[in-house]
Symmetry: C2
Subunit: 692 residues, 2 copies
């Protein structure tokens, strides 16, 4: 067996804090309630609401690629099915319990007189509930789950009941704090619009799952009833600053969902910044908003803010085609790819300000690499891929997904990384504002942004496998899966993958349009696959180039088979010499998976001698699949040496480097995403090497 | 000529802010003014005030070594004379102008009705004046300088005139802020006692220079009149927390100066902490005070605070012999030496909190290495050396002095490093709270702790060259110099060094007691000198061991010559493998001098290809003296290679490390202390190496 099934029974708390009324309102999608609070009408589902993807690019004029609905893709038993089962069976229910135990629902219930608890959590605590709800929305786009839906329905109604008649909804800025609402200072750090952005994304995901507009109507009431009449451009309105970018992409998704252009325009205004809210340079850097997005020349400041801003800006380009946006996005992406990204796809070098560092500043043990930032990186690259069809963006998506994102959730789905360092010493890890000393995976963070973010990412994953275009279909990701969707012509098509990816490099792709048709199947050749072969019905296709989509244009009938073979030889990677942290070190990657050494896997070693391991870079790596290790992983072994533990006498020795007393050994490596799932132990991705 | 003389004329501003009364009070040392403010008497100079050293250990029962007065040692033309001339001719006068221009004297004058300026600078701004005055005090212990003394006298009187009748003296906590005086929160971060500590150190240095007790009386009035009656142990007094350690060592120096044990006891109480001021763990770590010093097990938190606390604790041991202190100090020193110190003697890895990092966390470009922390390191090791006579402490003093301290002041003496990184890129240096982006040397910092700290260190340097002991005399540092002092027997002795140290390794030491006597001359053999020879009147001495004092016990007459020869072969240094930042890198050291590469010295190179330089560690280093470069330095050349500039295309390449297209070159290195004295250019101490 390559893949582990998880049969844990799901258990949800059906009543938040035990205070929910027993009878619940029925969903009211399709209703047309006029005279709703704030004067906004409720939204009537469109005819094609079930066809909308993770983001809905079906009508986006500058999207070269169109998203495929999550429900159109079934991920079958394989690598991601196990992780996704863990997400649904363990992570989402345990996180719901944590959210309730930490008062995140009480914050709403209190405003409805159903809880006497005090306000809990930081200013952005409402977003925890929304992101969890968005994860549920994505789950329900893949599968029916009445119990989960019932739970979410309940929570949604409890959320909506806390909305004020004005449309305002935020459980922090109430009571004595109500006077601070939307003041410039509050907008800068208060996360009101950040929370509403997450509400909108949750509402849209839930609507796309169920057709239920309850939460969506609440979001529209906030925007139409409270925000738009009072805030925006023009002398009669007050200015907006995003503070923490998020509202931009959610407003554009609301535009895509409703067709109402005012949301796109508002997003454009926010992306432009409003000089009526004067900001210090430090704030402009940190918040990555408040000045024209198109004035940006590098990624800087808070990494999640920067990634989310780039998502919103790319969404804006996809709808408007504004070339200044594309130029800026290209500049920023180059900065990311050439100077700021970890080999894991993680971003954000510094704990201080959770921020990007200088060019090439990519420390390993001190890496921040917040899970949310890696997710933001994937979300941004997904939008860039849609805009361009360029496989370099898909390479980044795959790198982040399999490594820097996948590392964020433990194998049992119950603990999470806030930060994702590339080296670790449990006794030396001092912790920070969010993460306690020595503990990298935790079930709860008071700023619990990352856990539900990981959940929504895994839940939405089917939506990232394929795209369609005017001339065919794109295959982005590889795993056992089935797509049932339609070509641009309307011709129904089924794509089926059979593979043991990422552990093996062969994929059998069945292409079955209902009616034979000439179109192009774009097969992604990952940048890491130096030698790939692609055959259609046994005939080799030429010009297979790493890091490109291989376009196979022909008349496809119902039983064509594309056989793909990628180069799964483990690779020794070295970093650009400008990355000082990686000088004298190599990393090992096999397929899309970045590997790491954990000390407990190294024979006859102690935590003290872990720094004395070195690799012999010119020798061959061996790989083997270990079905019983870490839910089933490929393990790499690589020749190396280990010296005596470093001298405890002096930091500096006047002698040549290298250790004459080192003994040969075989380094054992596991996938990076699976690290820290056993007892605490030192870890490193980048391994010192010695001349062989 | 090996050494440059600096003939700049000194110019001082004789009147602060132009408001000083023309007639000044005469010094009043020797006066016995009873009924002074706060009820304290003024101090009558002791008979032997001219015999007191940098710290006065003449009566310290647990000092194995006794300090030699600064005035007893003359540093003659050589390495340090040039730096010390710059200090007196350029640095001290230009810093005085900066202090006055930035209102540091106005703060005092305002309280006397002589300035209408607002309060200037941070809470600790008074200490800037005190540290500068202390520097002047040390200068005046070496040489007469009536103009400088007149300037300092004026400033001292202006300071003292601001003292309140209660004895309280602080220009920040006045007016509306007076109610915050000595509140627990103010003690934690308000630096009142830190400022008084520096006042006491300045007062004592000035007293030891001139016999003038004006400032000393003010310090005693604060302690006797304000502090001791109201604060300290016991239910009738309020508790003290140091906040920023400094008061401890200064109170003990006050004890040494006055013989009044209550100051030692108060220091002991402060070193013990007072649980009536409850502190968070984070504060205990950061402030390095507030809990019993003897409960500490590692260096952590703010590096300067930790170093100053260790100074105070060692002073306490020197007076009391409390073995728990010595045990703790030994534990902390081992932590410093084995896990926390840069090769430059700098300490403090992190900008955030100006703090120590984890074990072995010693980043190069991001190193903090505050000048004050390196000075604190030297001051602490000086005390440990006195307590033990162990040469390992002298090795650290020399390392810090020649490198991480000496780097802190520019060659022209007019600009200063707050932080002292071991790698630098002017375009990538983002700056921090104190240091502006891209500029590592600045004439002024609003927190201007480092500049006068550097000045007092250079001014006091003669006091660090020699010690006496019961059985003889110790030679710690090497430079052309003359000591005229006395042995423990009272027999007068003259020691004379002739050398071109640190550029050459030969020292001729003339030992001339007035009366022939059997005693031991302890000659320090630096840890870095693998092969040393020592001859007395031509006869070789055996058992010369690196990192030890070589004891030469014999009857010394008036014309004995010790010829010392140290190993000046440049050494390739590698770091403990646990220092991840130095993996795959070497450093070069020659004698006590640590070297670095500046890009502008590398032929045919650009800032962009600087990371592509590598050294060939097994090849020989050449050295040559360059009299016209950087005021005269030895330059090292070392075989290496330089590749094309790092690829701008990808951070990560699947290929073996090393650069097949690299061309051979000769790396050019200058002393680290002299870096950043020309146009901005990238720099590194730790150089990547490739297998040769």
């Amino acid at each position: 067996m390559y893949f582990k099934n998880i049969f844990t029974r799901r258990r949800f708390i059906s009543s938040a804090a035990g205070t929910v009324a027993a009878s619940l309102l029925a969903p009211r999608h399709g209703q047309a309630l006029s005279g709703a609070p704030g004067g906004a009408d409720t939204f009537t589902p469109t005819a094609d609401w079930k066809d909308e993807g993770v983001i809905d690019l079906s009508k986006s004029p500058y999207a070269k690629l169109k998203t495929v609905p999550i429900r159109a893709v079934t991920i079958q038993e394989g690598f991601w099915s196990a992780r996704r089962a863990t997400n649904v069976e363990s992570s989402i229910p345990s996180m719901q319990r944590e959210l309730i135990a930490h008062g995140r629902m009480d914050n709403f219930l209190r405003l409805e007189g159903k809880s006497s608890a005090a306000q809990y959590g930081p200013v952005y605590s409402d977003s925890d509930i929304y992101k969890w709800t968005e994860a549920v929305g994505f789950v329900l786009q893949s599968e029916k789950d009445p119990a989960l839906q019932h739970t979410a329905d309940t929570m949604i109604r409890e959320v909506v009941a806390a909305q004020e008649p004005s449309g305002y909804l935020n459980t922090y800025y109430v009571g004595d704090r109500a006077s601070q609402r939307m003041l410039p200072k509050t907008q800068e750090m208060g996360h009101e619009l950040y929370c509403i952005g997450h509400l909108l994304q949750a509402a849209i995901a839930y609507y796309r799952a169920t057709g239920d507009t309850t939460l969506l109507d609440a979001g529209i009431r906030f925007v139409d009833g409270f925000l738009l009449p009072n805030y925006g451009p023009g002398p009669d309105k007050k200015p907006i600053v995003a503070g923490h970018p998020e509202i931009e992409m959610s407003l554009i998704e609301l535009y895509r969902t409703t067709g109402n252009r005012k949301y796109l325009d508002l997003a454009g205004y926010i992306l432009q910044g409003d000089s009526r809210i004067p900001l210090k340079q430090q704030q402009i850097v940190y918040m990555f908003c408040g000045v024209p997005f198109t004035s940006r020349t590098k990624l800087e400041g808070h990494a999640v803010r920067a990634m989310y801003a780039c998502c919103g800006a790319t969404d804006y380009y996809l709808e408007t085609g504004d070339p200044a946006y594309l130029k800026t996005l290209d500049t920023l992406w180059t900065d990311l790819y050439e100077r700021q990204m970890y080999i894991t796809g993680g971003v954000g070098a510094r704990s201080q300000g959770e921020s990007f560092g200088n060019d090439y500043e990519l420390p390993n043990a001190r890496a921040y690499g917040e899970s949310c930032a890696a997710i933001g990186n994937m979300m941004w690259n997904w939008r860039m891929l849609a805009a361009t069809g360029d496989a370099r963006f898909a390479d980044v998506i795959e790198r982040a997904l399999y490594n820097g994102i996948n590392s964020g959730m433990s194998l049992d789905g119950k603990t999470y990384c806030y930060r994702n360092p590339l080296a670790f010493d449990p006794t030396g890890f001092a912790g920070d504002w969010h993460t306690p000393p020595g503990k990298i995976r935790n079930p709860w963070y008071d700023t619990t942004c990352c856990p539900p973010n990981l959940e929504r990412t895994l839940a939405s994953l089917p939506g990232y496998f394929y795209s369609t275009s005017k001339d065919g279909v794109y295959v982005h990701l590889y795993d056992n899966s089935e797509m049932r969707w339609r070509l641009d012509s309307g011709n129904a098509i089924q794509l089926t993958q059979k593979t043991r990816y990422p552990w093996e490099g062969n994929i059998s792709l069945h292409v079955a349009p209902t009616v034979p048709e000439v179109f192009t199947v774009y097969v992604r050749i990952p940048g890491w696959s130096k030698q790939s072969t692609v055959r259609v019905n046994g005939d080799a296709i030429r010009d297979v180039t790493p890091g490109r989509y291989l376009p196979i244009r022909r008349q496809w009938a119902g039983n064509d088979v594309v056989e793909i073979s990628f180069d799964m030889q483990a690779q020794v990677i070295h970093a650009n010499p400008a990355v000082a942290a990686d000088t004298g070190r190599i990393a090992l990657q096999r397929g899309p998976i970045v590997f790491c050494m954990e000390q407990l896997d190294q024979a006859d070693s102690t935590p003290q001698d872990f720094p004395a391991f070195s690799a012999s870079p010119t020798e061959k790596t061996q790989s083997r699949y270990e079905p019983n290790l870490l839910d089933g992983v490929v393990v790499l072994t690589h020749p190396g040496a280990v010296g005596p533990a470093p001298s405890q006498e002096s930091l500096y020795q006047a002698s040549l480097p290298g250790n004459a007393n080192a003994r040969s050994t075989s380094l054992q490596l596991i996938p990076y995403y699976a690290w820290a799932n056993r007892e605490p132990t030192p870890m490193q991705v980048w391994i010192p090497y010695e001349p062989s």
